[in-house]
Structures are given as C-alpha cells and as structure tokens.
Point group: none
Chain length 191, copies 4
DNA sequence: TATGAATGAGTATTCATTCAT
DNA sequence: GATGAATGAATACTCATTCAT
C-alpha cells in the first residue's frame, strides 16, 4: 500500500455522514464510524485529522454534491423562472431522498472550527436559488425585492417540510405546497 | 419538595436556556450552568432530574412562553387573517429579540428522550399560526390547502431570516420580506 | 464534603511518587496511581490538573522534604565542615532509605513544563552542600575553588552509589567511600 | 538478511541515538526516527526487531564506542595512574562533545527489558577506570579501598558536571575540577 | 529489501451523577 | 434544601507493529 485509497475515503465519508445525520455530533463515536465503514479506528486518522475535520468534510462533501446536482439540472432546464424554481425544489427533495440524513445535517448545529467551509458550501447552494430569482426579476416573471432572503426561505421550507411535516407525506405533496407558497409569494403581477 | 424556591428554579432555567442556545448540548456542562445560576452543582438536581430533563424544560418553557405571548397578542388583534399573521410574525421576531437564543435552540438533533415534549411545545406554537390560516380560509381571505405545512414554513422563515439573513438587517426588513412572501403565497384570489 | 482533604492529597502524592520512581513517566498510568491511592481516577483531577502536574508536585514535594530534613540536621550539627558534610551525606542516604524511589526520581529524566520548579527544588538541595563547603573554605578546613561543582558531585556520588553500587552494599559502606573520596578531595593542606 | 546495508543501519542508529537523548523514550516516535534517518517506518523493522531493541542498540553502541576510544587512548598513555585517570576524564568529556547526547542517555529509567545489555555496556566503561585505579594501588600511587565505587563516581562526576554545571563552562574547567577532587580523593599518602 | 497504509490496544481526561456533610 | 468532593464510565486520539505491494 503506497497511496491513500480514494474509495476508502469515500466509504468513510459516507458512513460518517449517515451517522452524523442520525445522531448529534457528540453521540457519534469514532468507534461507530470505523465499524460502519469496516475499517480500523486508526484508519480514520489516516484520512482525516480529527473528528471535527471528518464531520466538516462529510457535510461539505454532501453540500458540494448537492450544488453540482442542481447545476446539472439547471443546465437542461428552460430559462423560465417558475420552471427553474420547481426544478430546484425537486432536486432538493430528491437529494434528501438519496441522502436521507444529509439534509438534517445541513443545520443540526455543531459549530466547528472549519465552520467557514460549511457556511461557504451552504451559501453556494443558496446562491443557485438566488440567481434564478434574479433572472426571473429581469425577465419580468418575478417580483421580489430580496432574493437573498427568499433563497434562504426556500431552503428553510424544504427543511421544515421534511423535519416537521407529516412523516408519511409524499415528496410530491411537499413539493407542491412549497412551490405553491413560494411561487405565488414571488410572482410578478399577472399583467 | 416543600420549600423549593420557584425563583431559583427560574434562574436555573434561564441560565440553562442561554447556555444551551449558545453551544451544542454536549458542550454545555452542568458546572457551567451551576456557575451561571450561582448555585452549587448538586442544587441542579434538586430542581431537575437530569441534564436531559433540564434541557427539555428550558426549551419547552421558552416555547410555552412564546405561545402565551402570541395568544395575548392575538386577543387584542382584529379577526383579519393578514393582520393576524403580521402580528404573529412580529411577535416571533420580537420574541427572538428578547430571547436571542431561543430560535437557535429550535435546531434539531438533540436528546431524543423527551423529544416528544419538545415536539409538542413546537406544535403548540405552530398551531397558533395554523388556526389563523384556517380562519382566513373560512373567511375567504386565505387560499391554502395545507395550512399545517404553511405554519411550519412561517416558523422556518423566521428562523432562517435570523440565522442566515444579513447580520445587521433590521427586524422590520425581515418581517416585511417574510410577510411579503407568506401573505402573497397564501392570499385568496382578489375577487 | 466541603473542602479538599489535605490528607488525601498527601496520600495521592505519596502513591504517585512511589510509582513514578519505580517506572518511567509514561509507564505509570493514572489508573495505577488511583488504585494505589485507593481513590477514583477522577479524584486525581480534583487535586491535580494533569498527570504532568502530579509528577512535578510529587518530585518537588520530595525534594522539598529533603531540603528540610537537611536543614534540621545541620541545625544540630557543629560548625565543622567535614562533620557537616558527613551529616549531609548521611541524610541523603537516609532519605533514600525512607523514600527508596524518590532519589532515582531526582533525575530519571522526564523533561516537563514545570521543569523550572523541579530545577529550583534540586538547586535548593545542592545549595545546602555548597554553603557548607564555602563555610569550610572560610574556616580554612576546605580547599576547593569550585564548591558549586563539588556540590553537584556529592549528589551525583550518592546517586551513583545507590544506582550502580553493589545491590546489597550497606549504606554505611557507601557513605564511607563517598566521604573518603569527597573529604580527601576537598581537604585543605594539613598544615 | 543478505543485502542489509551497514551504512543504513548506522544511519538509523545515529538518528535514534540523537532523538532518544533529546527526549524521553516514550516521546520519541518511530515516525520521527524514520523521518530523521530518511527511511520508511517499515525499514526500521528490517534492521531492529522493536523500539526497545533499537533503543538498547543505540545506547549500547554509544557506550561501546566510548570504551573503544578509552582503550585506544590508554594504549598511548604512560603507566602512571594519575596521568591515565586524567586521560580517561579527558576522553569522557571529549566524547561528550562529539556525541553531545550520550551522557544524557545514561539517565536511568527505561526499558527494563534489555537492561542487562545496557548495564553491561556501562560496566565495561566503568571497568576501564577501575582497572586503572587498581593498577595505581599496586604501584603505590593510589589509596582506595573501593575502586569499583570510585569508578562509578568518576562517571557520575562527569555526567553531573555536564548536566548541572554552568552551561558555558569550558570542558577544561570541568576536567580540572573533576580531577582535582578525584585525584586528591584517591591519592596515596605523599610518602 | 523498502515502504507506508492499516490496525487496535492503551490512556489521559471529561463530566453527569451521587451522597456525606 | 444546598453543596461540592468523589466517582468511573465513556471516548478521542496515539503509535508500535504488521503486511500487502
């Protein structure tokens, strides 16, 4: 063995992300992470310098992934603001289905040294939404004086619907209600 | 049991609420709480059975307070849905100014034991909003098929604007944007 | 229990001193110290902030004791340099009998943060010897241009005779040989 | 086994000796040793079976060297006891200048396993001194009933003068004082 | 032979909880 | 009731050693 194994790194990261999403930071032990990833405890330290760093990497990786997914989706979506917002909300909910725990992680609140990194990753996701809103304003489809806040609202609504909505609600229903409020909330006057 | 001092209880609760809001659950030590409340560590156990229970009590108490505050405000507010929603959002933001930490405390991811109590307290606040929305529907002012979700959205938007909005944004601006999106989002068709 | 118990502190210190003398710093576990002192592991931290601090305190305490013992002995010893030197060597060897491990500790080499404190304690012992030598020079009994070095030699000879001398040699024999070399080595010319 | 490179072995040994002299046994990591010797961590195990063995080999090697150096010097030194003792002390101090860490390494308190080998190496050095003393006794130049102890004293004095003497004292001054005390201490009566 | 990734046993330290005073 | 000394379970992290390449 000469070189660090990127597959093993991803495995550890994925195991950690799942556990961190299921339980608060301090309740996740590195023993658990190591067991979940089927590696020795010491191996974690070959790839990550500390528990904090592992946590940060797990969340940042997830958010980065999310931003990439949204970008790809937007690339194949027509330049219509409501359509694009729908696409984003769909992606957010779809992401939460693929990574059931990561979305809860987005803000479960372990303030950390490298928090800047996380904030940046989060902002990168939010900025996708904000850009779509601003485009819509220019195109006359959106009437919103504060797209920066609205972008945060969109994320917050997705999160709230997942955390506090009825447990068994289909994502389609959640998406419909989020988009209903959001799109009517920022729609430009009909004429 | 006989002579338990309610003032001391409140003092402990207030100190705990502040600390729990500033740091994650596991980073708050009972030593800190005791010091902040100027009591001995053992005294905490005279009033609360465990750290978990103290945490739960602190958050539940805060949310209960909030629900009471909203109730009082609604009592003196006319039966007009948009006006009542505005009043609630104002109260939420005002409350967050008086108890700067409570909304941060609403983050998820903590002692799952007793979680029921917390969820209930949160639902009690949300239900105030939901009731106002349903009233509005009946009065023909609101068009919203899922007031339960919308109520959660309202809370989430307040929270997001506080946590992720510009640090120095005046509450009035935040309130305006929240209400703008929210009210237009659920407004009944003009005629 | 309101106040820290000085007897318990001494008990911990004594247990620690013995263990640290028997084994190198890193081979002594706090588990062992706690068990030896018949206290819980956490109790160690009530009295000492860290393992390093416990180590430093143990050695410093021992050296302090030694300096005190020497002072007392000198107080009842006539102002004759050879006699006083004999008394000191006797005390050093006697001390090593009472605290069989502490003497080895005097220099088993764990360079530590509070090392200054230890060096100071060591110097305090050495200075007793140096003072006696200087007095002897003034009285014309001693001829020694470097009492500072000779004081260190005296300590070193005691230590070497204990560590590297025949295991079963009686202290009296060791004392005799140390004093023989030392006293002749610094004696003023006969006339 | 076939191609073991003696130069690499020496390099490892030298790096280890330096590190062990600078820090206590447990604070030296094999990672450090490997880095210092510019070899892989695994390579250390090609040449030495364990950390303990590496330590033992490093010290023993050093002491062996020292014994050899003394032997060579004595071979060219006249058969006069004081002269030969002077030569030995000079060699000891000179050796400590070339291998500044070796004498610090002579501190006690390390892997008791293999301790026999180290004690033997130390005794081999001491025996050189002892032999010179016994020769002197036979020649009527030395009066010393315990040359075994005195030999240990000589080593101890060198060590103490290096470790606890003034930091900037020239070796010549240290040698002078050591010899002064030592030679007068064991000198036969003038006539 | 040389390497360094992988491993897991070992340990200092923290902290919720208990209980004697 | 109030206190804080006492406790030991729990956990992040280190590092000597192994072994596949």
């Amino acid at each position: 063995m000469q070189t660090q194994d990127p597959a093993k790194r991803r495995l550890i990261l994925a195991s950690a992300a799942r556990l961190f999403a299921e339980q608060p930071f301090h309740d996740v032990t590195l023993e658990q992470v190591a067991t979940a990833a089927r590696v020795g405890k010491g191996t974690l330290y070959v790839y990550f310098a500390s528990k904090d760093q592992l946590y940060t990497a797990a969340v940042a990786e997830g958010l980065s992934d999310l931003a990439g997914t949204i970008d790809e989706r937007l690339r194949v979506t027509p330049a219509d603001a409501p359509v694009r917002l729908s696409a984003i909300v769909e992606e957010l909910l779809g992401f939460s289905r693929r990574y059931p725990h990561l979305f809860a992680l987005m803000r479960s609140g372990h303030p950390i040294a490298g928090s800047g990194e996380l904030d940046a990753a989060r902002r990168r996701v939010a900025s996708r939404i904000e850009v779509v809103l601003r485009d819509g304003v220019e195109r006359g489809q959106i009437d919103d004086p504060r797209p920066d806040l609205t972008a945060q609202f969109a994320l917050a609504m997705v999160r709230a619907s997942l955390l506090y909505g009825p447990v068994d609600a289909p994502h389609a229903d959640l998406a419909a209600q989020i988009l209903r409020v959001l799109l009517r909330g920022v729609a430009a006057a009909p004429n």
